[in-house]
Amino acid sequence: MILAYPMSGGAENVRKFKVGISFTVAGVPAIMSATLPGVVLPSTTVAADAIGVTTDTGTYSTTQGDAEGLVSVMWRPDNVYKALMSGAAAAGTALVKLVNTAVDTAGLTVTDADVGTADMDGGTLICIKGANLSQSRVVTTFTSGASVAVTVPFLNDIAINDEFILIPYADVGTGAAGADGNSAVQLTSDLAGANAVIASGTGINVVVVEVVVDPDDPTTKSYVLFKLADHVYDIDTI
């Protein structure tokens, strides 16, 4: 993930921290450890007491004479990070493209078995081909393996073969079930991206700020922007 911007502006701040585990990929969150002698990696779903996101890599060693491992961290608690959305647990996989199979003149429901089984209620449905091109709506009803529906209709009818992408994130919500797309992002296996095929509200605690969809390549160049919610300089533990 990359740094999008600090929410309150100004210059970025970077500090070098000792590592308690090897960091092999840059642009991953670093968190505090209660037992290890330095910052460590989070899991894909838990990043309690995060300190920020790394800007380089670092090697941990317990051998006498080796250089002390260090990693540089962008540590401002108001930083907004930008993670590439992936259509699988591994980073860099294209998002699933939904192709509508049933006409809906009310502009509310997209029908396609490819919606999968992960509950995206609270996520966002974005039209990438059809009369509603570039419009987005928050998902309010999810029917596993069948369809998704919104409450505020798309401006035009949803026709057969209209294409959409469905993501578990939204920049609005309360964090409660059904409105939790703004509260969590699950990381990809390399911890540098966002796994966008999981249920809304699953993953590390964040505040989703924005979703950016590249109009030319929406399935492989779409990003979720978020702020780390459980930051060591912000709040101890949620």
């Binding site: 990359i2 740094l3 911007y5 970025e12 970077v14 840059a26 790394t54 800007t55 101890d236």
Partner: protein
């Protein structure tokens, strides 16, 4: 949870035993492809292009800085760059796209997104 400052790396050694010069410390950082912070006085002595580094950029939504300013402890003089007219950050070229975006690509994406829904060509083409 440990006290955060105790986890901060001290940087180059400046004690009588084991003193390391700024040049030696920077050479170590470059060898390991680490992020480098330099104050406004020390950065003139570091040729980032020669060492395959790029200046870190992050857009400043308030417009107070040009986006290239990064503060922290200067890796050469060990002073806080806030007190020295602001610092610069340097990222190894191979890591640049993993941690920050160059300003031109941010402008390009923003412009495309802004015009996307309005374009007649886009509407006709039904991407």
């Amino acid at each position: 949870m440990p006290f955060v400052d105790s986890l901060e790396h001290p940087g180059r050694r400046t004690t009588i035993k084991g003193y390391q010069s700024p040049a030696s410390w920077l050479t170590d950082l470059v060898t390991l492809r680490k992020f480098i912070i330099l104050c406004s006085f020390c950065r003139t002595k570091f040729n980032h292009r020669k060492n395959r580094y790029r200046r870190f950029y992050c857009q400043d939504i308030t417009g107070k800085t040009d986006g290239f300013q990064v503060n922290g402890r200067c890796d050469a003089c060990k002073q806080n760059t806030v007190l020295l007219n602001g610092g610069s950050g340097y990222v190894a070229e191979e890591l640049y796209s993993q941690v920050c975006e160059e300003p031109s690509s941010i402008r390009r994406v923003n412009a495309r997104a802004k015009n996307y829904a309005k374009s007649i060509w886009s509407a006709c083409n039904q991407k």
